[in-house]
């Protein structure tokens, strides 16, 4: 049985002006130790899905349908007190901006020991020792001295390492990383991704990596889901996704990233148009207005995820990308970028 099983998750935001359908039916299974990526543009609902699973949606958000099975429980049915035992202990989450995601007036050691005392029942001395140890594991030099420092005394990359330390301190079964590298310099990004890769192996934990950057999933995730307008539109093992992007949106994403070694005159190939407003129920494929492969059926009937190519590759499209339009390079070349 899968470690985490999400079925038909729906999340809506209720504001005075409108209701936003942020997540419109997301399903996936996550096995123990598996690394899974969720790729999509800003606003497609990828972060919201995770927040919903953990019960930490912003005030206006509510889960309106679906099930999130973790072990033998449905997380969505738990009361907050029970969920709190899961959060930070069995499932941990790290966020995008380490500058603002750490409490500026608390020492970072404290911010780590507070999870240890709460979830592992450690006393102060043990927790401190453990905190120093985990800081060392994530690559903070001089951990013993640095444990008494404040967040503003660290650089961006170091702060993200501290966030990761906080997250893995209780050896969670699942780590959710929401855009962990987006706010960092490119060189630091690679370091952090390496760190995540290493820790995932050492801890044997599952990883959900959320990002808008395809290069990030290429190097880290075994499987990748592409999300658009609140739904998964394609899911496949990562190398398969890069080799045969069957959904026009995925293809568009791959083609729209500029390449250093491209010919100077080669034009950038962005996806025309803009993502739809999520304020109403929609019929038909949500990508259709921007899709060069759209058909009449695309506009009228919402496509469901269906098997294509291999048994692990699913795509939600009435008119998937034909073979001749598939790109030539492999995901390894992608990761190298």
């Amino acid at each position: 049985m899968a470690l985490l099983s999400v079925s038909d998750l729906e999340v809506k935001f209720f504001t005075r002006r409108a209701t936003v359908h942020a997540v419109r039916g997301v399903s996936f299974d996550l096995e123990a130790g598996e690394t899974m990526g969720i790729v999509g543009e800003s606003g497609c609902g990828k972060s919201v899905s995770s927040l919903a699973m953990l019960g930490i949606l912003p005030r206006a958000g509510r889960v309106t349908d679906g099930e999130v099975r973790f072990g033998d429980r449905n997380l969505l049915e738990l009361r907050d007190a029970q969920l709190r035992d899961v959060r930070g202990k069995d499932i941990a989450m790290i966020f995008q901006d380490p500058m603002t995601s750490l409490n500026p007036v608390l020492k970072i050691g404290r911010q780590i020991t507070e999870v240890l005392t709460k979830h592992m029942g450690m006393d102060k001395a043990n927790a401190e020792r453990e905190a120093i140890e985990v800081l060392g594991r994530v690559g903070i030099p001089n951990a013993r001295d640095r444990v008494d420092d404040y967040p503003h005394q660290f650089s961006g990359g170091m702060r993200q390492r501290v966030m990761i330390a906080m997250a893995i301190a209780c050896h969670p079964k699942i780590l959710i990383a929401d855009e962990p590298t987006t706010a960092l310099d490119v060189t630091i990004q690679a370091q952090i991704l390496d760190l995540l890769r290493r820790l995932v192996e050492e801890e044997g934990m599952a990883l959900i990596l959320i990002t808008h950057d395809l290069g990030v999933v290429a190097g880290v995730c075994q499987r990748t889901n592409v999300m658009y307008a609140g739904r998964f539109v394609e899911t496949a093992p990562t190398h398969e996704l890069f080799a045969r992007p069957r959904h026009p949106y995925t293809l568009g994403l791959l083609k729209s990233v500029p390449r250093l070694d491209a010919a100077r005159k080669e034009k950038l190939d962005p996806i025309g148009g803009a993502p739809p407003e999520l304020t109403m129920e929609m019929q038909g494929c949500s990508f259709a207005p921007r899709c060069t492969y759209a058909t009449q059926e695309s506009r009228e009937r919402t496509p469901e995820l269906q098997r294509i190519d291999t048994k692990d590759h699913l795509v939600a499209c009435w008119n998937p990308v034909p073979d001749q339009d598939l790109p030539a390079e492999s995901s390894d070349e992608w990761a190298a970028r």
Binding site: E277, M280, Q283, C285, P289, R299, E300
Partner: protein, 298 residues
Amino acid sequence: MSIAEAEAAQISLERPSGLWRDALDRFRRNPGALVGVFLIVVFIIAAVFAPAIAPFDPGKQVGPLATNPQGPSEGYLLGLDEQGRDLFSRIVYGARLSLLVGLVSVLVGLAFGLILGALAGYLGGWVDFAIMRVMDLMLSIPGLLLAIGLVTILGRGLFQIMLAVGVIQIPIFARLLRGSILGQREADYVLAARSVGVPGRKILLVHILPNSIAPLIVQGTLAMATAIIEVAALSFVGLGPNDPRFPEWGNILAENANRLQESAHLVFFPGLAIVLSALGINLIGDGLREAIDPKLKS
């Protein structure tokens, strides 16, 4: 409906709008702000049309002299004072003074404050230092005390009082504008303007000032409310205007503060007038603040 139809519907919902029209819309939808506008309009009408609204001459004795003046009664809407004058008329005419003081003192504070703030912000260096130190000094004396000091020296004339109350507002405006200028001096659009050769003065007037107006407008309205209350406070302390042509709410209140039991109405109604006018202005100021930048939660 299909996606395309939905998108089309969405676009038609959004009218083209500018910065100020958005703000005005938000203001109009704010119930508090509308209440504020209503209150102030009432007072403005009272001030402008005082002769028509007030049933009696505010300075004339129209009823009996009494140590125990009557409260609201037959013929006298809010009662009489101990000199037999009609309270309602005095309050209506009092609106003239309060609004006048509010307006003039804020203008004084704004004018000087803007000049000083602009000089400090744009010239920087020792000019900035000197001006800011003087502002700090002014702020180190609590407002009312400063006003008391000024009025003691300058005298109790109406103009002097408005000047004094205006002067204590100067540091706030100066700081506000200076802060705004400093914040924008390094802004990209200013650098862009400078790089194409726009002279400093022009940048200040045409680019920076308009972007600084919003918080100044908000502060200006709040300063008006403060001014009205400060003048009343000066009256309470015995330094208020004593021009018989202009009854002052605080004055009426102060004269009767010792005789609460006998003349409660002479304390209550002028006080109420002060509260309602200040409240109206504060509501408008808050409404403006939210209209101009709804992201500000304070």
